[in-house]
Amino acid sequence: MSSATRPIKPKKNIVRRWVIFIALALLYIWALSGVPIEGFKETAGQISKAIVSGIFSPDWDYVYLPEGEDLLRGLLDTLAIAILGTFISAFLCIPFAFWAANNMSKFKANAGIGKFFLSFVRTFPELVMALLFIKMVGPGSFAGVLALGLHSIGMLGKLFSEEVENIDFGPSEALKATGARPLQTLWFAVFPQVLPGFISYTLYRFEINLRSASVLGIIGAGGIGTPLIFAMQSRDWSRVGIILLGIIVMVTIVDIISGYLRKKIV
């Protein structure tokens, strides 16, 4: 009696579950079959011990060296790359944002092309862009700045265009009714509406760019990554430790400041 009153489990769910299960199993069989797992190197344990002890006993002398090439200058370089790269992209992406916004052009296809272009830029890895810029302007921070500046257009343009799509057309109609020129409408009716969003997204992107800037040096595009990869290659783990610590502290401080500013703006 009591078993009869129990509701029967829906069948469709079970079939669906099995299909998902089998698909996942196949995916993992495929994934695991391709990866050569030939056991760890014998030295793995030793090296990880050296890394851990290096990270816990950082090379404090490296923080400031009078002759240059120290941690503080490396971090400052990284910060400068991120600031300049973010600013360039925040400036360059504005026309793309208006291009990709649905409500700015009469033809939907036009905005679609803009959106596709932005997603194309977004998927282009910034490190590869940095590699190409190194071939163009030579190794150094400038290549990093250009790579970040170009790559961030993809994400900032998308976020900005969403902000533009959300604007209220009331103020611009009112200005048009008073006989304002298109540029004046843009300046007094559109910009005040989108500016807080633009600034907030730019700060957000700055946080991301700071993280990217700290690895650009690995391929020779300036910043703290270059001394880090040298220290790793020469197995100077206590120096690796202090650099990692420096990156973590810098990123955390910048995140806190930027988060505070973003909260204040929005």
Partner: protein, 263 residues
């Protein structure tokens, strides 16, 4: 009379703050440009180089496709395995950092701090460290992706857990469920869809990350950038780039569709 009229017009708000912000930004930019040696003249000098590189990139060397398919499949495999490792490790971290699961601030604040710490380290750095430990190959890449995605998935999931409905939790407590039953039947059904969606999201990120991990020797398609750029074979580079873009866009599309179905 005149004075009254003048008083009616409100004073424009002080623009001093704007000027200060503007000057501060200009100073920041000038300092940054100085620090990084960025000048317009250098950019203009680089222009001819730029065009010659772009010129050599077109047309792409389509025949190179056959050489990199295996590496691209390796990249996807790395992303799948890395995401899986991250997804599994993220579960306990998410539970221990949600304030409605563990009441003690002594537990969830340290765990959250650890997660924040993990998320500040870029995945390429993790990969470089793991390459030093395990040697060249996809294994260090998988571990780096695993740790990196743990940070993302755990953070998003614990926020989802904190937002769940309290009703089922209380009723499970009322019928005397133990801790595991409590989580299985009142928390899991509420957050499972979110969790799967976050795992897919981090899979998208991991595919992009895996495509460049090879630059530090951690396997995948990234190794081929080094190889081809070193020999200045730009036509092959553009083949790799186009292939990567294609794979990333397809995976993004599938994953977005799946996520839309879930939520």
């Amino acid at each position: 009379m005149n004075q009254v009229n003048e008083q009616k017009i409100p004073k424009a708000p002080s623009k001093l703050k704007h000027y200060f912000t503007f000057i501060l930004i200009l100073l920041l930019l000038w300092g940054s440009a100085y620090q990084t040696d960025s000048t317009f003249s250098e950019l203009i000098e680089g222009f001819p180089n730029m065009f010659s590189v772009l010129d050599q990139m077109i047309p792409p060397n389509w025949a190179y496709f056959d050489n990199i398919i295996e590496a691209m499949l390796d990249t996807i495999r790395m992303a799948v395995l890395g995401t899986t490792i991250g997804a599994i490790i993220a579960i306990p971290f998410a539970i221990f950092s949600a304030s409605n699961m563990i009441k003690s601030t002594w537990v969830y604040y340290p765990v959250r701090f650890l997660l924040n710490l993990v998320r500040t380290i870029p995945e390429l750095l993790l990969a470089a460290i793991f390459v030093a430990i395990f040697g060249l190959g996809p294994l260090p890449g998988i571990f780096a992706l695993g740790i990196f995605s743990t940070g993302i998935i755990a953070k998003l999931t614990y926020e989802a857990i904190e937002g769940i409905d309290k009703g089922p939790l209380e009723s499970m407590t009322a019928v005397g469920a133990n801790k595991i039953q409590w989580i299985m039947f009142s928390v899991v059904p509420q957050v499972a869809a979110y969790y799967v969606s976050y795992v897919l999201y981090s899979f998208e990120i991991n595919v992009r990350a895996a495509a460049i991990l090879g630059l530090v020797g951690a396997g995948g398609i990234g190794e081929y950038y080094d190889r081809t750029l070193g020999f200045l074979e730009y036509d092959k580079v553009s083949t790799i780039i186009i292939f990567t873009l294609l794979v990333v866009l397809i995976i993004d599309y599938i994953s977005t569709k799946l996520r839309e179905n879930l939520l």
